[in-house]
């Protein structure tokens, strides 16, 4: 069974983003970029399935600028087998990403697609679900634990009230949550090996998908800022102060 893993290039989670003065977006110049952390978890899960003999080839896909090939290389260094880079500049909305992924699924026929639950830049939390719907496949989102048989997946999911388990038929979509696994670091030999693994270059047009944004971003602004308040000296004083202002 092939496994497809879409990986997005995003601002590194440690970077404190700054909104541009002209309100057109956030400043991406000279900012460290990395693989979306949830996608690292997705790559790791695919590799573990392969190690357990439950998955065959692992294909990492990224839709983005030329530099997104670095993100694919990271996945290849972790253990993915080959990559597909769909070159597109500017923001590609989740629906367009899902349409491109759908076309790739139709060509590659994976048994499973593992995505991150959320890209930490747009915070959309949509792409996996949209892909599932476009393909008419079931989904196990926010996965905490994943078990695969030949024809089905059992997915334990992180939900607001605790954990929920669903059984879904394959082929299926899974999106990762933080506790699914701890992604490995790529070893130096594997980083070297990854340089020889193939990456196919495509464009959205190759898949017949129009990536023109549907949503119009009118502006991007800074949220209201909070100021630091006062320091107190003890737990006793903290309670007294909270009582004084009527917070308790």
């Amino acid at each position: 069974m092939k496994v497809l893993v879409p990986v997005k290039r995003v601002i590194d989670f440690n970077v404190k983003v700054r909104v541009k003065a002209d309100q057109t977006g956030v400043d991406l110049a000279n900012v460290k970029m990395s693989m979306n952390p949830f996608d690292e978890i997705a790559v790791e899960e695919a590799i573990r399935l392969k190690e357990k003999g439950k998955a065959g080839e692992i294909i990492a896909v990224s839709i983005g600028p030329a530099q997104a090939s670095e993100t694919i290389r990271t996945a290849l260094a972790m253990g993915a087998d080959r990559g597909i880079l769909v070159k597109a500049d500017g923001d590609v909305e989740p629906l367009a990403v899902a349409k491109i992924l759908k076309a790739i699924c139709e060509a590659e026929k994976p048994g499973l697609v593992i995505l991150g639950k959320q890209a930490i830049d747009d915070d959309s939390n949509q792409t996996g679900q949209m892909l599932a719907a476009l393909l008419g496949w079931p989904q196990g989102t926010f996965a905490h634990k994943l078990d695969i048989t030949d024809s089905a997946a059992t997915v334990e999911r992180e939900i607001d009230g605790g954990l929920q388990t669903v059984e879904i038929k394959l082929p299926a979509i899974v999106t990762t949550d933080l506790r699914l696994n701890e992604p490995r670091y790529a070893s130096l030999p594997n980083i070297m090996k990854a340089k020889k693994k193939p990456i196919d270059e495509k464009t959205p047009a190759d898949y017949g998908v129009d990536v023109t944004p549907r949503l119009k971003v009118l502006k991007v602004t800074e949220p209201p800022k909070r100021q630091a308040g006062v320091k107190v000296k003890s737990g006793t004083e903290l309670v007294d102060k909270l009582k004084e202002i009527g917070a308790i």
């Binding site: 915070d123 879904i168 602004t221 630091a228 003890s234 903290l238």
Partner: protein, 313 residues
């Protein structure tokens, strides 16, 4: 035309997040209808009918909706979509699960976690863990929206809507609910509590969370946590507050042994009053705390409990 709000509930009680989503919906398109999809969910339908501004409650009572599994929910909502120009759900793990499927099938973008309705086609939403706010205009056509409920007031309970039973849609038959393990707690729910007490890695162990629970019990507060505390296994996953966990905005948030990473702040910085206890005076949490206490939490929290007891809490 009208807007449709998909109700959040557990078949017995209607969640507050529904009332807040109704408020957002009323600013986009009226009349507002509420869809209650569940099993043996009469009480939920009754409660939804009382929400101010709701004209009609549609009830699909069928086993396939008992746990809001995404694929049957998609089919049901799509069967109704023709009649609405906006479809909304609260940005809970349920709403986030089924609603993007609906958007994709309608071939429209979903607008996730709106904070504000600027006009019926223009919305504010957070990006980059709330470090930037995007104002987006949706194209003509149906709007599919999840709502960050901390940003909207709940509709009151003064309404009297009609309740209409509707037929279930055919179950796509590709998925099924297979069990759940829900956290049991006598305390208020994290997302609707007036006071939240959260612990981080500084708590050191799950056992030590008892200390926070004592404080929470005095204050009738909910207990939350940072990702580090959840990853370390101190508390279950549903305690996580943050960018990729729950978003809370209580009257008072007390952060204990939490450093204040941007991903954590994303989930609590809209709280009315923030208090923080941390032994490191450089901890970023102090930059946003109204009251900061640089101290060992194992000394400070018992002091708080003692003072509350003295004050008769």
């Amino acid at each position: 035309m009208a807007s449709l709000v998909v109700a959040e509930h557990d078949n017995r009680t209607l969640k507050d997040s529904t009332a807040k989503t109704v408020t957002a919906a009323a600013q986009i398109s009226t009349p507002v209808h509420v869809l209650v999809a569940g099993q043996n969910c009469d009480a939920v339908a009754q409660a939804a009918a009382k929400l101010a501004g709701v004209e009609k409650v549609l009830v699909a009572d069928d086993a396939q909706y008992a746990h809001m599994v995404a694929e049957p929910m998609e089919a049901l909502i799509l069967s109704l979509a023709d009649k609405y120009d906006a479809i909304l759900a609260p940005a809970t793990t349920n709403g986030k699960n089924y609603l993007p499927r609906v958007a994709a099938r309608l071939d429209v973008p979903q607008i996730s976690e709106i904070l504000k309705v600027v006009s019926p086609d223009t919305f504010e939403r957070p990006i980059y863990a709330g470090n930037a706010i995007q104002t987006v205009q949706a194209p003509a056509g149906k709007k599919v929206i999840t709502v960050r409920t901390t940003a909207f007031k709940a509709a009151g309970a003064t309404g009297n809507a009609a309740i209409e039973k509707i037929a279930a849609a055919a179950d796509p038959g590709i998925s099924k609910f297979a069990g759940e393990e829900l956290s049991k707690s006598e305390r208020p729910e994290l997302t609707s509590a007036k006071i939240v007490v959260s612990g981080g890695r500084g708590m050191g162990s799950g056992e030590n969370f008892k200390l926070l629970e004592q404080l929470a019990d005095k204050l009738h507060a909910a207990v939350g946590a940072s990702r580090a505390a959840v990853d370390a296994g101190f508390v279950p996953n549903d305690y996580q507050v943050g960018q990729t966990g729950k978003v809370v905005a209580p009257e008072l948030y007390i952060a204990v042994g939490i450093s204040g990473a941007i991903q954590h702040l994303a989930g609590m910085k809209d709280s009315k009053v923030i208090a923080a206890i941390n032994k490191d005076e450089e901890a970023p949490i102090f930059q946003i705390a109204d009251f900061g206490l640089v101290a060992d939490l194992f000394k400070a929290v018992p002091e708080m409990v003692q003072e509350l007891t003295r004050l008769g809490y």
